[in-house]
């Protein structure tokens, strides 16, 4: 009774299956208007005005959420004097700000760093997390449960506590200002391991046993039989990891602080803001460069973002 209402992550995320497939929109709206039985007088008129109000609200909210982004894009296409005029459409759209951001202010370099780091971290983590997730879900070894609890415990340790010790350790190990120092920090991601384990638990055992009867070893079973079955989970953790690394500001700031040629896009934006705050078109162009790739990925793979968000929630 007492624990019935205490939500755990399971309440929100009932199973790996449900997490990876966002709830299908139900046709019947689960609200009072939609469930009033047909035949009550005045229903249609009431329904119609209600629908209009709902859609007006929906577009109003959409405006609230998108105007800042539209303003960012519009400003990035203007020249500095033109930013004084408040028109959404630039009078003489120009890519000048982008050219300057990319070359004069080094954002081409920062973008390359961001792409390289995010891709490296994502590939390595997908491999390590799926391998370990498989082991935790399927293989039996002494201490498995205890070790898995340790994995979950890492989710509760805030980065702020790790900041000083890791900085001192990395200073001693000469990892500051190096790409591999940053990759090392990002390689320990328990949320993704957890997600993979949960997903492997939902795969029926029959296939594995068939593979074993055929004489396939453990790694071969994992690689050839199991991995192809967990495609959606792989996609979800890959996108989550890529997004997390691409948008990460805290660790690149600390690791690359003294190495400006290693800056990623977010750190580049910070250093630009502190030096030339009012060069708005260039700043907005660099913001577009930082946001657009994520936006593109989001448009194509948005259902995996929803899946990833659930575990980002776990991360806290």
């Amino acid at each position: 009774m007492a624990d019935a209402d205490v939500p755990t992550q399971k309440d929100v995320v009932p199973s790996a299956e449900a997490r990876l497939v966002p709830p299908a929109p139900t046709l019947e709206p689960a609200l009072p208007g939609g469930t009033v039985p047909v035949g009550i007088p005045g229903r249609t008129a009431f329904e119609r005005s209600r629908t209009i109000v709902v859609y007006l609200l929906l577009f109003g909210i959409a405006l609230l959420y998108f105007v800042p982004f539209l303003w960012m894009i519009s400003t990035s296409l203007k020249t500095l004097p033109e930013t004084a005029y408040f028109s959404l459409l630039p009078k003489h759209p120009t890519l000048h700000a982008y050219r300057e951001a990319l070359s004069t202010f080094h954002f081409a370099r920062y973008a390359a760093n961001s792409v390289g780091l995010a891709a490296t971290v994502t590939c390595l983590n997908v491999f390590l997390c799926s391998l370990a997730g498989y082991a935790f879900a399927r293989l039996r070894f002494p201490g498995r449960e205890v070790l898995f609890i340790l994995v979950l415990l890492t989710l509760m340790i805030p980065d702020q506590l790790r900041l000083v010790p890791i900085f001192v350790m990395f200073t001693n190990w000469h990892l500051l200002g190096h790409y591999h120092g940053y990759v090392l920090i990002k390689l320990a991601s328990a949320a993704q391991l957890f997600l993979m384990r949960q997903y492997f638990l939902t795969i029926p055992r029959d296939l594995e046993e068939a593979a074993k009867l055929d004489g396939a070893g453990y790694f071969k079973t994992f690689w050839k039989v199991m991995l192809p079955l967990v495609g959606p989970a792989i996609a979800a953790i890959a996108i989550l990891e890529f997004e997390g690394t691409w948008n990460d500001f805290f660790w690149p700031l600390i690791i690359f602080n003294t190495a400006p040629d290693h800056y990623t896009l977010p750190v580049g934006i910070f250093s630009f803001v502190s030096e030339y705050q009012t060069l708005w078109p260039q700043l907005m162009a660099s913001s577009v460069i930082a946001i657009a790739p994520m936006a593109l990925i989001y448009v194509f793979f948005q259902r995996y973002f929803v899946a990833g968000m659930a575990s980002a929630g776990v991360k806290g």
């Binding site: 939500p7 609200l31 629908t51 498989y134 070894f141 320990a188 948008n247 907005m284 930082a290 929803v306």
Partner: protein, 303 residues
């Protein structure tokens, strides 16, 4: 690593005794890399933080043993007090604003008969955009001659005045986080059985009443889950405050939030020992608040 694992498995059993021993060894091998990393990058640093916090520690390492001196200093540190106060103020306002906005949007989206998936995705978009880029856009829009003032008729630099800077951060973060809050609330809204609404409709309850008397109380597990996430997230807020204030926590310490203070002690004052004790104090505050929240909500839930 993978290659050796594969090679080993191709030789059935030899040298490893029974199948069970083999399975255990393969299991350890598969989890070895992440476990070692967790050890080095999570568990060891906790102990190391405790160790460092007992020293006066500079760029080149230990300077002096101070025992609990760092923690004693923390109790009387005026700026740490300001940082904690700012952090709590921000967290409270941010939690309430993003829950209200997220819930409102979720209820509206839940009503949409068509394009519900589209609106859901569209509103979630600010949550996936880079915090640094979003903060840059906010700096622009909320600047003295920015779009916001142009529309609303105000005339102030929202991030430039100590009276408004923290509230500008509240607005910015609530806006970006509300999409995530909306997604969680949508999941909870869809778990409410429709027959309660039918009963309310038969009783003639209007939409407003239905929301406050039925939907809102039934969402209690959702409120708890979301508020826990937001409180922890709010206390850890760093990126936006750091970028908006150029790393200073200004104007006049008004955006000096706890993590920003920690960063400044470590990298501007170069006092790693003291910074480590700030980090430990912060973690205790976060755990304490989470526990408090769990106890109070947990108790009312049990009734």
């Amino acid at each position: 690593m993978s290659a050796t694992a594969a090679a080993r498995e191709d030789r059935p059993g030899r040298g490893f005794g029974s199948e069970r021993v083999r399975e255990a060894l393969v299991g350890y091998l598969f989890i070895a890399a992440p476990m070692v990393l967790y050890g080095i990058l999570f568990f060891y640093p906790i102990g190391y933080a405790l160790y460092i916090s007992r020293y006066d520690w500079g760029v080149l390492g230990k300077i002096d043993t101070v025992g609990f001196g760092n923690y004693r200093e923390l109790l009387h540190d005026h700026r740490f007090g300001i940082a904690v106060k700012n952090g709590l103020k921000f967290t409270l306002a941010f939690t309430i604003c993003s829950m209200a906005l997220g819930l409102f949007v979720a209820v509206v989206v839940n009503n949409a008969i068509r394009f519900r998936g589209f609106f859901r995705s569209a509103y979630y978009f600010p949550s996936i955009a880079s915090s640094a880029a979003i903060t840059a856009v906010a700096l622009f829009i909320l600047s003295a001659d920015g779009l916001f003032n142009q529309i609303t008729g105000f005339d102030r630099a929202w991030f430039g005045e100590s009276g408004t800077a923290l509230w500008a951060l509240v607005g910015l973060n609530s806006w970006t986080t509300s999409g995530m809050v909306m997604l969680f609330y949508l999941a909870y809204l869809q778990s409410i059985p429709t027959d309660v609404y039918e009963a309310a409709a038969i009783d003639g309850a209007g939409a407003w009443r239905t929301f406050w008397k039925i939907t809102f109380p039934l969402l209690r597990p959702g409120h708890f889950f979301v508020s826990t996430l937001l409180v922890i997230g709010g206390l850890k807020m760093f990126d936006q405050a750091f970028i908006a204030s150029g790393g200073s926590g200004g104007p006049n310490n008004s955006t000096l939030v706890p993590v920003l203070y920690l960063y400044r002690v470590a990298f501007y004052d170069v006092r790693f020992g003291y910074a480590a004790s700030v980090g430990i104090a912060l973690m205790l505050i976060i755990f304490g608040l989470t526990l408090l929240q769990r106890l109070t909500f947990g108790r009312t839930d049990a009734n």
